[in-house]
Each structure stands twice: as structure tokens, then as C-alpha cells.
Amino acid sequence: MAATSSPPPHDRDTDVSQLATAARDGNRFAFQQLVTILEPKIFRMIFYRTRSREDAEDICQDVFLKAFRSLKKLQQPERFESWLYRIAVNRVKDYHRRQKFRSLFSVLNDNDNEEDAQAEPPGERNGEPIDAIVRKEFWQKVQTMLGQLSKMEQEVFLLRFLDELGIKEIAEVLHKSESTVKTHLYRALGKFKNDTAFRAFIKEAQP
């Protein structure tokens, strides 16, 4: 029911499927076209979960490289996009695992990080400190809202409403049944619906 500005899904899906078939058969140009089409979406998807441009860029590179190297294993080119999302979800999980491991040693690095933060505030390079603050506040609020959700509810919610995947695609990406996805999605949406403060915030916010 939600309105979207993207082109009709069938045409786009057909393009992606055809390009994926060609890329699997060794056509490098087709793969480069797939990157052009899907990189912005995959980058955003990763950024939503890392909130770091540089980390999102690194992970995005990894995702496409992994996809390129594993193309021969792709049995269903029509599911290329879901497959790519699955790689991205796994890479993000690895990233969070590494972050958790690093946080064990964060006490040692706290001072260094503070110095870095003072030297280069977010957004300052673009001459848009206010925008950066607004963005930061937006992501903090999003994080607070997502904090009420379980890990699976968060993932399903983000994939459905921010990454705009269908239930079937989400099930493929997460290797879960559609009914499991729906259960988590209904719960997550119920929590979002009841978070009136957050809903009021996004009505007013203009990042």
C-alpha cells in the first residue's frame, strides 16, 4: 500500500535477472551494470546498520567482490538481489561481531577516539555542521526506537520498510520461513505503531 517512487518492479527485476545471467556467464560489463543499479541500495542498507560511511563503503566493496567471485555458484539469477542482500546481511553481522570484539579493548583507545572526534566533527568537512547534527539526532532516535525491538524484529523491520523488500525476499535473505518473517514483522510494526513519540518526531524532523 505504501507509495514508492521506484520504477515498476517487474521491469527492474527482469533487468537485474538478465544482467545476473549474463554476469554469471562471464560478462563483466553486465556485472558492472548490476553494481551501478544496486550499489546505492546496498550501500544504504549497510549504512542503516553501521551508521558509518567509511565502514559502509568497505563492507559494500566486500559484498560486491564476494558476489563477483561467487557468481558461478548462483543457480537462480532471478534471485540475484536477494542473494546480494543475504551476503550484505552476513557481512554486517561479521562487522558487528568484530565491533563487539574491539569494544573489549575500547578502554585503551577511548582517549584516541575523543581526540579524533574533536579534530574532525561529523559533517564539518562538507561545511554542513547543522545538517550533521540533525542527521545524528535522527539516527539516535531511530536507534532508540529500534532498541525496543529484538534483533530479528529490527532486521525484518529494516528490510521491509527501509530497504523495501517483500516478505518473500526477506524470507530468502534471512533463511527463514515467510510465516516467521511475518510474525516478527507484525510485532515490530506493532511496537513502531505504539511509539507515539518517535512517530511525532519523524513527522516534524527534516534531515
Partner: protein, 172 residues
């Protein structure tokens, strides 16, 4: 009016419709077409989600680095790699052959005889080498006596019963 109110979509149904509009029943669709209140509830939730999505897109910086495919391997590079593979395989095969030759040569040497201890004539004559080996490795007399006594004790008919001759047609 009270009947309409009683038929309003529940919170759970509104959530389900927004999450997955494919799952909407015909009755729900009909109800939404007629009920302003429920339609507003559904569209309010959808609009908030759409706002969230748009704001998330706006609050995401553009990537400064884009993915670039690793350089394709040239034909020359591929040939060079193939040549290296063949060379490596050849080396391994040669080493294996050499090892086999050495091992076989070592095992063919007759037991108990050192080539350095053989007389010159015996080294030259293979029959002499075998004779020498039999002489050195002869069985003790007790074993020979035992084998003779056993050999003589068996009846030929019994042997034939145990190992039927090839021209036996008793089964036909």
C-alpha cells in the same frame, strides 16, 4: 453506526495490512473502502513509515568510493599461470618417479646378501646370485623334515576332492 463500529479493523489487522498488503482479505478491503476511520488509521501508519524511509535516505551520506571490478586477467597472464601449473605438476611427477625408482631398486636387492660381499663371478651370474641366496637363507633341517612328512601323508583322491580337477564334469 454501532454495527460499523463493531466491525472496525483491530489494531492487529491494521498492522498486518500495512506490513503485507498482499495478505489483505476481501472483507478487509471492502471495509477499508467504506470506513474512513480505519482507512485513516492504515494510511497514517503507512505515511509515517514512508516518512521514516525518506528521512533515512536523506540522512545517509553518498558513498565516496565506488566498487570497481578487479582487473581481468589477460590471456598472457592466464597462459603464464597455466605454464607454471604444468611445470609444478611436472616437478612433482618427476620427484615421485625418482622416489619409486629408488624404492624399487632398494627392495629388489636380495635379502641377506650385501653386494660388496659377493665374489666377482657371482655378481656377474644371476643363477649364482640365486644359489647363493638359497644357501644363505636355507630353512633349518627340522622344517624340511616336517614338510616332507606332511607331503607324503595325503591321499591323491583326498586332494582331488579338495581341489577338483578342471576336467571334472560331475556337475553337468
Amino acid at each position: 453506526m454501532s454495527a460499523d463500529v463493531a466491525n472496525h479493523l483491530s489494531e492487529h489487522r491494521i498492522t498486518r495490512i500495512v506490513a503485507d498488503d498482499d495478505a489483505m482479505h476481501v472483507s478487509e478491503r471492502n471495509h477499508l473502502a467504506q470506513c474512513d476511520s480505519c482507512r485513516k488509521a492504515v494510511s497514517a501508519l503507512e505515511n509515517d513509515l514512508e516518512r521514516l524511509r525518506r528521512q533515512a535516505v536523506k540522512a545517509t551520506p553518498a558513498p565516496e568510493r565506488h566498487f570497481v571490478l578487479p582487473a581481468a586477467r589477460s590471456e598472457r597472464h592466464r597462459l603464464s599461470r597455466r605454464r607454471w601449473r604444468w611445470a609444478a605438476a611436472g616437478s612433482v611427477l618427476s620427484a615421485a618417479l625418482l622416489a619409486i625408482v629408488l624404492w624399487v631398486g632398494d627392495n629388489n636387492r636380495l635379502p641377506g646378501i650385501s653386494p660388496t660381499t659377493l665374489p666377482v663371478a657371482a655378481v656377474e651370474d644371476p643363477a649364482m646370485i640365486k644359489a647363493q641366496a638359497l644357501a644363505v637363507n636355507a630353512l633349518p633341517p627340522a622344517y624340511l623334515a616336517l614338510s616332507e612328512s606332511l607331503d607324503g601323508g595325503y591321499d591323491r583322491g583326498f586332494i582331488d576332492f579338495l581341489i577338483p580337477p578342471l576336467d571334472d564334469d560331475s556337475m553337468s
